[in-house]
Amino acid sequence: MNARARRAFTYTVFVAPALIFFTLIIVVPFLRAILFSFQDWNGISPVIGWAGWDNYRNIVRDSGFYRSFAFTAKYVIATTILLNVFAFLLAMLLNMPLKSRNVLRTAFFMPYVIGSVIIGFIWQFIITQLFPDIGEATQWSLFLKNWLSLPDYAFWALVLVTVWHSVGYYMIVYLAALQGVPSDLLEAAEIDGAGRWRQLYNVIFPLIRPAMTINLFLAISNGFKAFDLNFALTEGGPFGTTESIALHIYLDAFTKNLFTYGAAKAVLFFFILATISIVQVGTMKRREVEL
């Protein structure tokens, strides 16, 4: 074998496995999803029919899809804001020279390593068993209500659990960024007469913008993809009011046997999420500053 052929051989041996599994597991199903979205099939019957644009036309009139989309959008907004606010606050506080800060950082991060399904069941227990006890003891009406059977409360239950579960992850990202803010810059700002809020707005925020870009991106895309917690905590209830898009698509495809209709929704979901992500990261990247 000459040198050229040998180089081509090496290249193929090293790159081919990644390319093969990527194609088989991602490219083929993705293209097939697009194909499915124009077909009519229940996932079982031997013949796959054609639907043209019918699936997409039906989505426009599907109130269940709108409801799950509206829920998901509301959920994404609430969790993105709360996760980032609380994570940033925690990071600021745990960036101070506290004696227990290492233990505290670990403590706030810990829930994140547990899977969301398990977290969902734990909180189902807390909300249905502990909350009424607290309600009885304190007579606070907030805890006397059955959270999982009232739409608004069920929504906030999901938000609360999401924030509890993931705030530590976002905190770690903010902490890493805060540790990169040079203290002499803050001292210089202080000497120039900048108060705490000014330092925050004019020095800290611009310098940690990359972390904000990442955290907002993660919160938005994780929010849109929410499934596990939804499945375990509320099962989409009461009356489908907390059915995330991901859960909605799953139920269509795998419990209602609307295989191709679900695929059309999934393709639409991809376009929506990709557009939002690209716009968000694009606008925020332009506003980042290099040190």
Partner: protein, 268 residues
């Protein structure tokens, strides 16, 4: 400063109530759970664990989770690092196209591919098998892993590899003996990110592993909870069993986990 410290400790304790409740109620009788959720049990009911251990087939389920996680993650590490090595060291239009194509898959949500994936897996004959789900994790894990390896290898000077090449090492020797040890920081990051994801993943096992013998911990816990709704004492014992392995993993690896998450997030 002391006030902040005290407030933060109180907040952290409140933050931990859900975990405390899970452990404590898994050690009670059903009656105790219902009458006083917060109180400690009169007698620790360790037999709850024995019951759940058997009903859940915990050992089998645990082994499934271990096998799936270990083989999925090591496959992802090997396949991605090998591909990244050649894609970085042999730049050109082909490498660019391959890299960008794989990278762009990061914006596709899993839910978009999951419906046809079940069909594709059926056609390939890998549905409802342990090795089948491992292969699927290889596919889904490659984009992020390749991206992280790609960035890291670009920052490594190629002198060492060239020296080894002059000494007569072939590409496999250079990769496995010279480059792979240099990659260990990024390998740790990739391994941790993918271990947490695969260990805790629920949706892929749910749609591709239907037989009880193949279930992973999250899937088995979900099925168990569905069957024994309201038997809270057993439910909490089951959840405690489910979180113990990942807690132990976390306590031993926490330094690397936090570093890995930081590195992964900043680059991702």
């Amino acid at each position: 400063m002391l006030l902040v410290e005290i407030v933060m400790i109180v907040v952290a304790i409140l933050f931990f109530v859900p975990i405390y409740m899970t452990v404590i109620n898994g050690l009670k009788t059903y009656g105790e759970v219902v009458t006083s959720t917060m109180a400690l049990p009169d007698v620790f009911q360790f037999q709850n664990y024995a019951i759940v251990w058997n009903q859940l087939n915990f050992l089998g389920v645990f082994m499934n989770s271990i096998i799936i996680t270990v083989f999925s993650v090591s496959g992802i590490l090997l396949i991605s690092s090998m591909a990244a090595y050649q894609l970085v060291r042999r730049p050109g239009w082909l490498s660019n196209v391959i890299f960008l194509a794989i990278l762009s898959a990061l914006v596709i949500p899993f839910q978009t591919m999951m419906i046809p994936l079940v069909k594709v897996a059926k056609d390939l004959g890998i549905i409802n098998t342990i090795y089948g789900i491992i292969i699927m994790y290889w596919g889904f894990g490659i984009p992020l892993a390749l991206f992280l390896y790609h960035g890291f290898i670009k920052s490594i000077p190629r002198e060492l590899e060239e020296a080894a090449s002059i000494d007569g090492s072939g590409p496999f020797g250079i990769f496995f003996r010279i480059l792979l040890p240099l990659l260990s920081p990024i390998t740790t990051t990739v391994a941790i990110l993918h271990t947490l994801w695969i260990w805790n993943d629920f949706l892929l096992p749910l749609i591709t592993l239907s037989s009880p013998a193949n279930r992973t911990i999250p899937l088995a816990a979900a099925v168990y909870f569905g069957q024994y709704t309201n038997e809270w004492h057993l439910g909490m014992a089951a959840l405690t069993l489910a979180i113990v392995p990942v807690m132990i993993f976390f306590l031993f690896m926490q330094r690397y986990i936090i570093q890995g998450i930081t590195a992964g997030a900043v680059k991702g």
